[in-house]
């Protein structure tokens, strides 16, 4: 938990739609994030920005683990569910307990944020080997 203690209330506040548990990825992987939102209004275009990072007082995005995708909504006179997929390339530093959030931006009004999803990703380094030698041999 990266030294942080969360109350049940704070967890419930931050997570309204619970994705599956923690994911382990390696540098160079791509993580596909599925997002849903209900929309009502005129036909508009916008963007979704998805980022892994560490949430403190603010959410410190990791510039190597984020993506921005274009989105479009049709004219809807009542709420309608929309689903979007965002592929996030995992670069930057390794680490554990990365948090996740996304926002809809470039639409009329202020940006729309998901809850913050805490401790969702561990990023391991690429497998490395060294000192590969034969140290002995004998009859068995």
């Amino acid at each position: 938990m990266n030294g942080r203690i969360y109350s049940v209330e704070s967890l419930m506040e931050n997570i309204s739609v619970a994705p599956p548990g923690k994911l382990q990825a390696m540098l160079g992987d791509t993580v596909r994030v599925t997002l849903k939102v209900e929309y009502m209004g005129p036909a508009i275009d916008g963007q979704i920005h998805v980022a892994f990072g560490i949430k403190g007082t603010i959410f410190n995005e990791d510039s190597g683990k984020q993506a921005t995708i274009p989105i479009s909504f049709n004219q809807e006179n009542a709420y309608k569910w929309y689903t979007f997929l965002a592929d996030v390339y995992i670069g930057g530093p390794t680490g554990t307990d990365y948090d996740l959030y996304a926002k809809i931006m470039s639409v009329p009004g202020s940006d729309i944020f998901t809850p913050y999803y805490m401790n969702m990703l561990d990023v391991l380094g690429e497998p490395t080997f060294r000192n590969f030698t034969i140290t002995d041999y004998s009859k068995i």
Binding site: R32, V33, K36, M40, Q75, Y79
Partner: protein, 261 residues
């Protein structure tokens, strides 16, 4: 008239109506000057066999508008003879006469009837303005692109086109795009009535413009409450209502899944 071939033995001294009976004069009891007054004279053969019958219709002994048409009417049957005249600038009397064709090859007067036609006053008025009020705004009818879910209110002005004051009445019905009546309004104006050349505004009740599409209205303007006369009317579109598009609104934005590709 000699083509009929059906004759009746002439009986001297026979009373009018011996072989025929004028059953009815079908005509309006009143008409405005200059109007075409349609008249039908119904004559019944009261004899025991077919006879040749002719009819005459005269207005005020001046205008013979049914001028001796003839017909072989079977025994007991009734035949209609029709014609019309132009209503004069005064009341008039319609005189109807029936004749039968005798064995002497002559027509003989048989029955008569009369009917009065009074002169109707000509009422003249005009629907001079039509407006739709909605959301604090007004637009002439037919109005266009009214946002959905406003409250509508119809205003109709009737103008008295006569020289003296008249009491005007109104009736209208608003229908939504599905043809469902949404507002029906009827009223006679109260005293003092509208003077010659002046207008009176009728205001209906409010109704919800809650369906996109074409709304219609039927309007009739009346005068003369005791024998009401439609002096003007309008049947057409009230307005078009456009869908209300809500402001962009989002809810329940969240991540539902994520996985390595």
């Amino acid at each position: 008239m000699d083509t009929l071939g059906i004759v009746v033995e002439e009986t001297h001294g026979i009373a009018a109506g011996a072989f025929t009976k004028i059953v009815e004069i079908v005509a309006p009891s009143s008409a405005v000057a200059g109007a075409t007054v349609a008249v039908t004279i119904k004559i019944k053969n009261t004899y025991t066999s077919t006879i040749g019958v002719s009819a005459v219709g005269v207005r005020d002994s001046v205008d013979r508008f049914i001028d001796w048409p003839s017909y072989n009417i079977p025994a007991g049957a009734t035949h209609s003879f029709s014609g019309s005249f132009t209503m004069p600038n005064s009341a008039c009397i319609i005189h109807a006469y029936s004749y039968y064709y005798g064995t002497d090859s002559a027509w003989h007067f048989d029955d008569e009837m009369a009917k009065n036609v009074s002169l109707s006053e000509v009422f003249e008025g005009t629907i001079s303005k039509k407006e739709l009020e909605y959301d604090g705004s007004r637009a002439n009818i037919p109005a266009y692109d009214i946002p959905e879910n406003n409250r509508g209110l119809v205003h109709i002005w009737g103008r008295n086109d006569m020289s003296d004051a008249q009491r005007m009445g109104i009736w209208w019905q608003v229908k939504d795009p599905d043809g469902v009546a949404r507002e029906t309004y009827a009223a006679w104006e109260t005293w003092p009535y509208t003077g010659g050349g002046s207008t009176h505004e009728f205001i209906g009740g409010r109704f919800d413009l809650d369906k996109p599409g074409i709304w219609t209205i039927a309007v009739q303007l009346f005068m003369n409450p005791s024998d009401q006369v439609v002096v003007d009317d309008y049947y057409g579109n009230l307005c078009t209502v456009k869908s209300a598009i809500p402001e962009p609104t989002f809810r329940n934005f969240g991540v539902t899944d994520y996985s390595k590709r």
